[in-house]
């Protein structure tokens, strides 16, 4: 069997055609047409019904469409209301945000929106910010371009520390993060600025205890990154300096005067360390322990400049009737370990190694030899060009606690001009005397030292060697004598 939805209609047509092809006057033809008429009426009824149903469906569809349109309108209204509420809520949140939000145009830098806190932060009424240029508030307007370039390259700016100029001219530090956004159909920059001036001050205060150079040396970005035991091991030059006559000076001062004096002295000499690429590891009362990681020249030049500063300071002191001060400096170069020591709750920078201990001894020996600045042979050998400095051989010394003797040198660049000239003039004779001395030709050494002292009677090092030479001439020396001066005291 076959199924055709319109088979009945096809049957009517087929029957009509058959009748028309036949004899229209034949018997039964009338009945045939009457049957067809009945079939036609029936089909017409079905057609009408289907048309009615279609009309009804169409009506239903129109009604549904209208209903959908009404629902769409209602939804749109609800959406708009929701959007309004959402915008209201968002605005409330943004306005209440304790971080300044500023939206400015990319092209002109004109501020087109700020939240409530932005005004007080900038020192103006918030309403007055709109229309102003963001560059009005940059201490360095070129930073605007820098930040825009960074935004362009990285897509964002996070936690950039920006100096912001307030309306009254005062400066605050802002932690600024920026994003691109389209606002009011304009390409804009959204900036969030948090006042970190207080934090900056805290960091600056903290840097007095752990200087930025020290952080950098330890390869740390921030104070919070520092941990106990962080250290660097390398060949460096370490320098110890100490006030010579502090005890006698301080006896005549009140505690406050003592503090003022020490701070005044340290305030003069400490920056010198930074000037020559070094950093102060720690203060030792009135003493300073400093490291010069880059080269020995930095340490020696810093020592010379320190002594120059003391000379200037003494000139000022003498003008107001105060006693001059003296300092001793020792410098040495070698392997050492610089890092953080202490315990979790309290730590400070320090440096360790035999070389460091030895340097402390060298500083102590300045008192013994009555000189200002002693360097080890290691430091002298590490200098790029010794002819730039006024250096002379000092002695062969075995410091307390050490087995090995060391050759020491005096740096006299900072001696007062008269003394420096005399030492320069007698340098050759002095060096010859030293050579004779260590080759046990004490007669020749004594004769040459007399010559030195004849010209420079205040050369205390020459006096020291003359005394030793005379003693050796009188008492003689053992065959094993090497000229090493063994120190019993630190």
């Amino acid at each position: 069997m076959s199924f055709d939805t319109f088979e009945a209609e096809a049957g009517v047509i087929q029957k009509a055609e058959e009748l028309l092809r036949g004899d229209l006057t034949a018997h039964g033809c009338r009945e045939g047409f009457e049957g067809l008429l009945g079939d036609y009426k029936k089909l017409l009824k079905v057609s009408r019904r289907i048309v009615r149903m279609s009309d009804r469906s169409e009506k239903g569809l129109i009604s549904a469409r209208n209903q959908i349109q009404e629902q769409q309108a209602s939804l749109e209204k609800a959406h708009q209301e929701l959007k309004r509420l959402s915008e209201h809520r968002l605005r409330t949140i943004v306005e209440a945000t304790p971080i300044a939000i500023i939206i400015s145009r990319v092209d002109t830098g004109e501020i087109i929106y700020t939240n409530a806190i932005a005004g007080p932060l900038m020192g103006v009424e918030t309403e007055q910010l709109a229309g102003r240029k963001v560059t009005d508030f940059y201490v360095d307007p070129s930073e605007k371009k820098f930040l825009l370039d960074k935004l362009k390259n990285d897509g964002q700016v996070d936690h950039y520390e920006l100096r912001v100029k307030k309306a009254d001219g005062s400066i605050l530090w802002g932690d600024v993060s920026q994003r691109y956004l389209v606002f009011n159909e304009l390409p804009c920059v959204l900036s969030a600025c948090n006042d970190i001036s207080h934090l900056k001050k805290m960091n600056q205060a903290a840097s007095r205890f752990v200087p930025a150079e020290y952080l950098s040396f330890l390869d740390k970005k921030s104070l919070v990154d520092i941990n106990l035991g962080d250290h660097v091991t390398d060949v460096m030059t370490v320098m110890f300096s100490d006030l010579r006559s502090f005890t006698s000076i301080s006896e005549e001062m009140t505690p406050q005067q003592n503090f003022n004096f020490v701070n005044s002295y340290l305030g003069r000499v400490s920056p010198v360390v930074r000037d020559f690429n070094g950093f102060i590891v720690k203060y030792l009362g009135d003493g300073i322990m400093a490291i010069f990681p880059e080269c020995a020249d930095d340490g020696v030049q810093a020592g010379i400049e320190k002594l120059n500063q003391v000379n200037i300071y003494n000139e000022e002191r003498s003008k107001v009737g105060r006693l001059p001060i003296k300092i001793g400096i020792g410098a040495n170069t070698g392997h050492m370990m610089v890092g953080m020591v202490g315990e979790k709750g309290r730590m400070q920078g320090d440096a360790f190694s035999d070389n460091v201990n030895l340097t402390s001894r060298l500083e102590g020996l300045t008192k013994f030899y009555n000189v200002s600045f002693i360097i080890s042979a290691a430091t002298r050998d590490a200098l790029k060009d010794t002819s730039k400095y006024n250096i002379r051989y000092l002695d062969k010394v075995q410091v307390k606690g050490k087995m090995k003797a060391l050759d020491l040198y005096e740096v006299f660049d900072s001696d007062l001009p008269g003394m420096r000239s005399l030492k320069q003039e007698t340098l050759e004779v002095y060096q010859q005397a030293m050579e004779h001395y260590f080759s046990k030709d004490f007669t020749a050494a004594q004769s040459l030292l007399f010559k030195v002292l004849q010209k420079n009677p205040n050369d205390k090092v020459a006096w020291h060697h003359l005394m030793n030479t005379t003693r050796h001439l009188e008492n003689g020396v053992a065959d094993t004598w090497t000229g090493v001066n063994v120190m019993a005291n630190k």
């Binding site: 069997m1 199924f3 055709d4 939805t5 087929q14 029957k15 009945g38 019904r49 289907i50 009804r56």
Partner: protein, 153 residues
């Protein structure tokens, strides 16, 4: 009778032999509903039939052809039988309407032959359109019993 035969798809202009048969051994038809076609449940053993769901198949002849052929084949031999046909439609298109009208005519024809035919037109009580369609389909029935059965939503 001739007219009825002509408009029904299964009754082309040719005589049908009527012989009483036992209840059919035809296989029942169960077709799951799809998005465009209704669930079909034709139980020939029980003489119980139903069409439920939405009906706007892409090709009405392909979907209904075999089903209607089997139904017509079955009912053409019925005598003194009791047939129940439930329609529970949510939506149907014009082509389906044509098929349904053919079914109604066929069922009325079956009823006129001494069988008891009950047609139940189920619709959701708030569906005015489906209620009116039911009334329209039912108004031409002369022999079959026609029931409008609103269903609570």
């Amino acid at each position: 009778m001739r007219i009825m035969m002509m408009i029904l798809p299964t009754l082309p202009l040719k005589p049908i032999s009527r012989t009483r048969t036992k209840k059919s051994k035809m296989n029942n038809i169960n077709i799951e509903a799809t998005e465009r076609s209704p669930q079909i449940d034709f139980n020939f053993q029980e003489s119980s039939f139903s069409i439920r769901g939405e009906s706007y198949p892409e090709d009405v002849s392909e979907f209904y052809g075999d089903i209607i052929d089997q139904f017509n084949d079955y009912v053409s031999n019925l005598e003194e039988a009791e047939v129940t046909f439930d329609f529970e439609l949510i939506y149907f298109n014009s082509s389906t309407a044509k098929v349904l009208m053919g079914l109604f005519d066929q069922l009325d024809e079956v009823a006129s032959n001494g069988n008891k035919v009950v047609i139940n037109w189920c619709y959701e009580e708030d569906d005015d359109n489906m209620e009116e369609l039911g009334e329209e389909f039912g108004e031409d029935l002369e022999h079959a019993e026609f029931n409008m059965l609103p269903k609570a939503v």
